[in-house]
Amino acid sequence: MTKVLVIAEHANGKLNPATAKCVTCASQIEGAEIHVAVLAADATEVAAQAAQLTGVARVLKIEHSANAEPLAAVLAPQIVAIAGEYTHLLGPSTTFGKDLMPRVAALLGVGQISDIMAVEGPYRFRRPIYAGNAIVTVEAASDRKLVGTVRTASFQATANDGHAEIVAVESTAELPTHTRFVERSAAATGRPDLQTAARVVSGGRALGSAEGFQAIYRLADKLGAAVGASRAAVDAGYVPNDLQVGQTGKIIAPELYIAVGISGAIQHLTGIKDARTIVAINKDPEAPIFEVADVGLVGDLFEILPELERQLG
């Protein structure tokens, strides 16, 4: 019997949308019974949200004061303690899941399939390598537990009309104290979340400075869009790190992606391959971004952006 445990990601009493995408991935594994584990200090609200995810049969609440912050070293042994009955354990390919799931896998003595982008069978998956320059089909043995992270840009969120049972599970694992949470910079911008926004406006090195980058924020606000950036713009300090899009930043799949003054390096492109429509604004007609753009405009962004703002009213 195929049983999949999805590890919920959440913060401040809210389930992260990545979890609903993991559930969709899990539901593509034939015959899977899907459970979701919520590890938290107080899991009540998040468990209730997880119980509504279509396709979920059961939500496990694992409450412990040590679970107030998602520390992989603390969460992993608790997940291993309940892993027994499951054939598959999945987490999102977000920094939360990337940190946690390999620790779980190693404790279980199994490898991991990272960034699952398609399910081809219960033990056969597709995933990108080389910054998305190649897609491999990977098969695992069916007599071992399968641990994986789910490339959330490849799956739609499952619907919200489920009524899963919620079961409290006691946390009996011995928990380490060698890892302690100190603080998190909360970048509450009031703008849409980059990972789930339908529209994203991204700026690159060409914006020239943090002040220059304000033009990207203004356009984004006009469009109700989230703001993204290339690595070069982050490295140069124009914007904080959580805006980086790409191989080593966020992998996103908006309806509309507008790349402004971004050359289109392979490491950047891998983060936007699943965008429905890519618009590129760049002064260099040879820039590689135009090879993937659905709509391209050659010109100076410092002239184009104000004009665009004007025309959008």
């Binding site: 070293a73 190649a134 491999v136 098969e139 665009l308």
Partner: protein, 249 residues
Amino acid sequence: MSKILVALKRVVDANIRVRVKPDGSGVATEGVKMSINPFDEIALEEALRIKEKGAAAEVVVASVGPDDAQQQLRTGLAMGADRAIHVRADQPIEPLAVARVLLKLIEREQPKIVLLGKQAIDDDNNQTGQMLAALWNRPQATFASKVELSGDTARVSREVDTGLETIEIDLPAVITTDLRLNEPRYVKLPEIMKAKKKPLETLALDELGVDITPQFKVLNYAPPPARQKGIMVKDVAELVATLKQRGLL
């Protein structure tokens, strides 16, 4: 005084656009430029800076891979590592097996910190450091963008989806590096010459008694689906009109 172990992987250089072989049997890597995985280079740079501040006595670089991986270890020595360990593996080796090999090296070397890149840019797995920390039963600080040591603890700022998170860990521990931790130094010619004389030890996998049997089989390599060719517009007005027409505005 304490030691830092840095793991280095030999990978196709970041500037090369890798292509899938027409028969789907792999990616074409013959004759392409190979380098230290950029994240591992950052890990080594951080180790060297810690040593230069007097907080470590020795930096040891290790690589699990084919004989050619010795080139990257030599580069690591030229950057400033004191000695190198090459664990010879001719077949591709999965992250869990690499973690098991590194654990053996930890048992031998007793490092205070193990530094590795957060991911290798070939397989993009992002697993080895976390797996090593699990097997070692020690803390992990992944995606580090700042490391501050004080005695037997470290404060690490981590690049997470929501911004920056700071954790405190007891040492010994595993730290994996993100891009903005530092900028690796350039290697100068005299250092390359000096590095030739630094110790580089080679170990066979079976000497370490580690099971490296692969758990996964790669059935096929395929190029990514191509995007449809787009259009060019001549000005902002046409851009806005196009987006409106497509229902995007």
